[in-house]
Symmetry: C2
Subunit: 216 residues, 2 copies
Amino acid sequence: MGPSSIPQASLRRLPQYHYYLLELEAKGISRVSCTMIGRDLSCVPVQVRKDLQYTGITGKPKTGYSVTELIQAIETFLGWNRVNEAFLVGVGNLGTAILGHERFSKYGLRIVAAFDTDPGKIGKRVHGKVVLPLAKLGNLAQRISIHLGIITTPAEVAQSVVDEMVGAGIQAIWNFAPVRLKVPEHIYVHNEDLYASLASLSCKLATRFGVPIQED
Amino acid sequence: MGPSSIPQASLRRLPQYHYYLLELEAKGISRVSCTMIGRDLSCVPVQVRKDLQYTGITGKPKTGYSVTELIQAIETFLGWNRVNEAFLVGVGNLGTAILGHERFSKYGLRIVAAFDTDPGKIGKRVHGKVVLPLAKLGNLAQRISIHLGIITTPAEVAQSVVDEMVGAGIQAIWNFAPVRLKVPEHIYVHNEDLYASLASLSCKLATRFGVPIQED
DNA sequence: TGGCTATCGATATAACTTTATCGAATGAAT
DNA sequence: ATTCATTCGATAAAGTTATATCGATAGCCA
């Protein structure tokens, strides 16, 4: 019953199962099998079973799993029933979008303050969160013991923001800036790399509509 | 010289190399080795070499690769020196953020129009792009032959938007809505799943700050 | 000119992830 | 009660990705 060593790929799929299970629950369906999940989410049942096993849940032959228990198991495993308080830095378009994403709060993510260096933004409220001057981050993070930092700044300043976060005791970073951040060993960085996604897409489109290339 | 079959993981790393190489170029550095890239981006040189080989570039012993050639090779491989015209649907916070992300245009992504169903948004301009009623999407996409659709709508409506896109001949979809979309075989969907990322993060934080769990 | 070292490219090994297979258990139908 | 189909859980096989190793080559320095 602990996320000791789950493949990243399985970890990415768990939220999909979770969302799907919520739908089932809303429809009043109480039990579900891997076969059923696999059919609806178009993946093979055995993979679903393996993924779910990491959460520690156990099913029954012939009937499968209890939907409610499964939702619980995933939430517990992912830490979604605990609260993680976070700071967000960079109240541009993307930062604003994330601040406004109220569904995150259902999964334990509570963004308690936003930071920026633009004097025009400081003091304002964005989706209910006050925008503070970046200079105050270090002190505040230490005082109220924040563990998670969200970076939605331009690439150029991301590293300096991270350095400040690390100095203030932040342990994990959700990075939306397109740079590979340098951090000490013990800091966990999750990069949300839109350019990587764009690469996938344009690469795919290039093979389909670009200069004809032999695909073998 | 074609993206026939590259691992997704390598594909994700190429843009990171690309960004790093641009920095080198800006500094006036003309040659680079895998050892150097690996040191600066903290990964093993042999992996860098393998990734770069997919682009078809060839280096020289002792000196490595030409920075300029390497940048070119990556851009060509990813299709970043071609233009992909796209439609975006859902001009909420996230949609607005993406419309404003002018750096995408450097990588061939040209969002030519945005769509929404909110009458309050239709007709307005967001970051220079006019917001059109969703009903016009099908017709327009066919007429000007759009291949890429970007979905930044709420989860509930994403599937119906996709159906419309597919009907209009759109071939690839960049999906920011947290749902697994159902599409015909030949359509390529790239999911930008923020909840998967959140899962990684909260899972990590849970092991670190939650109930003490034996990690072995 | 002749070693010497750094680096590439290729091949081989190891680690990891996915998919297949099989026995056991459960519930439903006969 | 017995059979049958379905599903789980575990183990095995296949496939994929990452890392290590090795010879060849290019530049550097004596």
